[in-house]
Symmetry: C2
Subunit: 249 residues, 2 copies
């Protein structure tokens, strides 16, 4: 028995999210089916990150166990021929059987993209959110930096009864504009439900001048979701990559 780690990229537009759900097609369901077809035996994956409907990934992680002898690195190429064009494996490798992609120390990086110009661009509508007005990038950058470190992020998450510990560590944030696209990247050891999207909704309010930069500190102290900005739209969000420092990959 070998455990294989997959790096999974997908366009989340037509999926109800990563996780198998009774209503709607999930990325995991399509992936399980493709693996089962490839190996001609039922295969079930364990995913690292349960991205929401419409959210994209360049590097989500999933593992599965197999008795098949195909060289681990070849699986990515073989599996892609069984997948629809909106899901593409980016790599496959053997990992120890003890490795679990979720119950393990992780470092995740997300990117959120805001298209900031007078008119929307149809070709980028599914991979960014659109805002025509002025945004104070310096204020947004400073507010984002206030999130770095270990904080209680209760104000910046949708309540989830299954999660009582709302303390997380943000290692790094960066925000810059490339031509007409604002790109915001955030790296941390874990993210609460809707956390990145609520952070972006809050940063946009700060960018518009609704709140001063320092409001981000007040907000963290408040531990009150109603004091933050709205949840930014899903299509602007991409899970870029996940690292497992304990495992060296």
């Amino acid at each position: 028995m070998r455990r294989i780690k997959l790096v999974v990229a997908y366009d989340g537009t037509r999926y109800c999210g990563w996780q198998v759900q009774p209503n709607g097609l999930s990325v995991q369901e399509v992936l399980n089916k493709a693996l089962s077809d490839l190996f001609k035996t039922p295969v079930t994956t364990i995913g690292a990150s349960r991205t929401d409907a419409g959210v994209h990934a360049l590097g989500n992680v999933a593992v599965f166990d197999t008795e098949a002898r195909m060289p681990a690195g070849r699986i990515a190429f073989a599996l892609n021929t069984y997948l629809p064009e909106d899901i593409r494996i980016q790599g496959s490798e053997e990992v120890p059987l003890q490795f679990h992609p979720r119950f393990t120390e992780t470092v995740k990086t997300y990117e959120y993209r805001i298209l900031n110009r007078t008119f929307a661009d149809p070709c980028r509508r599914l991979t960014s959110t659109f805002w025509y007005g002025k945004l104070d990038l310096e204020a947004m950058k400073k507010a984002a930096a206030l999130l770095e470190g270990t904080h209680d992020f209760k104000s910046l998450a949708t309540a989830n009864p299954a999660v009582t510990d709302t303390v997380r560590t943000i290692y790094k944030t960066s925000l810059w504009k490339e031509d007409d696209m604002i790109r915001f990247q955030i790296t941390g050891n874990g993210f609460l439900y809707n956390m990145v999207r609520i952070i972006v909704g809050t940063l946009m309010e700060i960018g518009k001048g609704t709140w001063p930069t320092e409001y981000m500190e007040t907000l963290l102290e408040a531990r009150d979701r109603t004091k933050a900005g709205p949840t930014a739209r899903p299509e602007g969000l991409t899970l870029l990559w996940i690292r497992y420092p304990e495992w060296g990959f």
Copy 2:
């Protein structure tokens, strides 16, 4: 009566192209319908460039005539509320009634994007073509530069009985790689049917080493389509903008 010029952007994915056709939905059809709804009277546009199925535009041009009194600059904003998300007007202005977007000296710029990495990226599959192998960018750049100037482009176009003059002038080409995306831009006074896509198909063969850089000169002299590379896929192509030097816009 006023003549209004529209700059039209669209994601060509679900359209049969710009021009109204008996089978399939065209961009022009949807645009005419939106204008007719906005002005509550039948409106027909004249388009500058008849892009093919799957080809995108950031700046195609169309004109229409109207008796309506809405300020010209406001039309773009009003019209967008009547259009689907995959078509977005980028600007509107009044132009002289004599201005015709097609029977006029034009300068057009197209961009073709080739995603060049080991694995395809689902989020960019509809706005680029994918090639996993090595491409010699210097050879491609030099071959592209050989197209600059006035040449007979018969070898680099799909035959069109309605067009007998196959001489065109290319003012500028540029080709560079940004991260994993190769971007090729070409500016000229006109392009024959499928010309940019056949140029790209040929540049890719040169990049792969099938032909040397100088083959581009041999090809122009041959005036024979069968000697060129394949027609590159439509989704990599975007019509960036159109200028009318005689009219100063």
